[in-house]
Symmetry: C2
Subunit: 117 residues, 2 copies
């Protein structure tokens, strides 16, 4: 049986050369190649992060912030390049989540029966 | 290049047959084979989980709870079988964390440069 690290590095290489990752990279580069698109995407990211942090620390989100978020989100949805990037991001994070689920299965099987008895 | 899922399943198999996982399984079975040890370990887990949940939801942890936790933790540390299980758990979760770090490297490299400019 190969070393787990060797296989993990093989998996990294396979993920890196997968069409899903290549598409993500392509859309990421396209978004960043256009100054306006890049700026809009960064504004959206910063806004998202800011609201998440406020939520996690229990700070109030103002009416203005909600409206600003809605307006930026609408611009983002209307931008085809960013929409494609976000779709590619979602596919990629789903794949990574599935990889994690597969490799934590042995642990889950070991500890699973402990929970309910 | 092989399919990422095939490689992920190979990695799962390699993790399952690794000496680290086999040791974890062995210690887990040993802990559960003795009724007293099993009970003590479960008491420790429940206590740990309960305190974690209280912390996350911002509930106060009482003096009695702190003392109870210290007493159970001392018993756990004095129990060689449980100590070995906990050491094996730590090694295994370190390995899984390293696997996750390796397979998320492509994403990290893609998004890394975005953060600071
Ligand atoms: Ca149990
Ligand atoms: Ca930037």
């Amino acid at each position: 049986m190969s070393n787990v690290y060797d296989i993990a590095y093989d998996l990294e290489k396979a993920l890196r050369s997968s069409s899903d990752f290549q598409e993500l990279k392509k859309m990421y580069d396209e978004v960043n190649a256009n100054e306006d698109t890049k700026k809009l995407f960064e504004e959206f990211r910063d806004l998202q992060l800011g609201l998440q942090q406020k939520q996690m620390t229990g700070q109030e989100i103002t009416e203005e912030e909600v409206q600003q978020a809605q307006s930026v989100f609408q611009s983002v949805q209307e931008n085809e390049t960013i929409s494609k990037l976000m779709a590619a991001e979602q596919r990629m994070s789903m794949i990574v989540a599935e990889m994690n689920k597969i490799i934590t299965k042995p642990l889950e099987e070991l500890y699973g029966p402990m929970v309910n008895n």
